[in-house]
């Protein structure tokens, strides 16, 4: 039986299997069709109908369940919803267990949330360092400009204020007002 306890492990293995079987297009389709439109349809419904309060309801529940030690922080205002991951439960599982079958596991988050938020009328600013640290800001699609300054939305809990947050931009994957997992700026 495939279980939920080590889900992140076989989920990551599956990305590599899809890429070997049908290339990058099949991996993208999987994230959008199977995860966004099927598995996470409860998230889609909440956010399409509820906007930022819907995001709070979805991520507030799912992150508390996945990461009871609260390795994350949620901030929100009328015009922005933000999550800072200081210890991503999903990436952390892979790092602790030495698992890697796909070139960049972290891409899956933008792979399903990007299309989901586009359908709901939002864009994403995001950076991750592949070490279990990342941040997300979700704003209405009419938003323009670059990333908000560190601390502006999350205060002292902004992950970019960590001493181990990379100073070298080349170590970060970055998205600006994006919805596509391939819109990555290195």
């Amino acid at each position: 039986m495939i279980g939920c306890y080590d889900f992140c492990g076989h989920y990551e293995w599956t990305f590599g299997w899809f890429e070997r079987t049908g290339g990058h297009a099949l991996v993208r389709d999987y994230w959008n069709e199977a995860i966004n439109h099927d598995s996470q349809r409860h998230a889609r419904d909440l956010i399409r109908h509820g906007g930022i309060p819907g995001m709070l309801k979805y991520w507030g529940h799912t992150l508390a369940e996945e990461s009871p030690s609260l390795g994350f922080n949620i901030s929100h205002r009328e015009d922005v919803f933000r999550i800072d991951f200081h210890d991503c439960p999903s990436r952390g599982f892979l790092l602790r267990n030495g698992l890697k079958n796909y070139r960049d596991y972290c891409d899956h988050c933008m792979g399903w949330t990007g299309p989901m938020l586009r359908e709901a009328g939002y864009v994403i600013d995001h950076e991750h360092d592949h070490q279990g640290h990342c941040w997300w800001e979700m704003r209405p699609a009419s938003a323009t400009g670059g990333h908000a300054a560190p601390g502006l939305v999350a205060g002292a809990k902004d992950v970019r204020l960590r001493p181990d947050w990379p100073k070298d931009p080349a170590k970060l994957d970055r998205y600006t007002k994006a919805n596509d997992p391939d819109a990555k700026m290195k």
Partner: protein, 170 residues
């Protein structure tokens, strides 16, 4: 690779049980594969997952025999929320008697359309893993309760009849 914190489980987390909403992801993955790649593609995925991702477990079984199989399934189901399972050791086999399948239970509670072939995954995956460990595996029942049998190759189990595996019902 880190040292397992739970004997019998090769991959371990910091929390004692998984998040049951991940069963939505497993069910959706199966549906996507069956639609895109057909039964043969789905079966190939499960067999390769069984021999690849689960290789550390298979090695434990090959080295530890049926005792390792029993320890693994006890640890496995202890980490699956909602599971009601009994693991029975006999001289030539281990029976994993699933009285309440955690996946089917949670998918039903969440109002999800369960892939009708869902229960077959336990056979295709389990058989590949058993084969890698020099064992055989059979499955009967399904749709919420079933019995997995892992046996020594000389146990003389009858061939698997896929008709003995019930379609999963939502």
């Amino acid at each position: 690779m880190s040292t397992p914190a739970t004997p019998g489980l090769p991959y371990t987390d910091t929390k004692p049980q998984g998040s049951p909403d991940f069963f939505y992801g497993i069910n959706a993955t199966f549906r996507f594969m069956l639609q895109r790649l057909g039964m043969d593609g789905w079966r190939r995925y499960l067999e390769e997952l069984g021999r690849g991702y689960f290789a550390p477990v298979n090695r434990q079984w090959a080295e530890g025999g049926l005792g390792a199989v029993a320890r693994y399934w006890r640890a496995f189901f202890a980490a699956e929320p909602g599971a009601v399972v009994e693991v029975v050791e006999q001289p030539d086999r281990v029976e994993v008697r699933v009285h309440e399948c955690p996946a089917i239970k949670h998918l039903r509670a969440g109002g999800r359309e369960i892939v009708r072939e869902y229960c077959q995954h336990c056979y295709f995956l389990g058989s590949a893993r058993a084969g890698a460990a020099g064992l055989t595996m059979r499955l009967s029942g399904g749709s919420g309760s079933c019995c997995h049998t892992y046996a020594r190759a000389d146990a003389g189990l009858a061939p698997q009849d896929l008709a003995q595996i019930k379609e999963a019902r939502s």
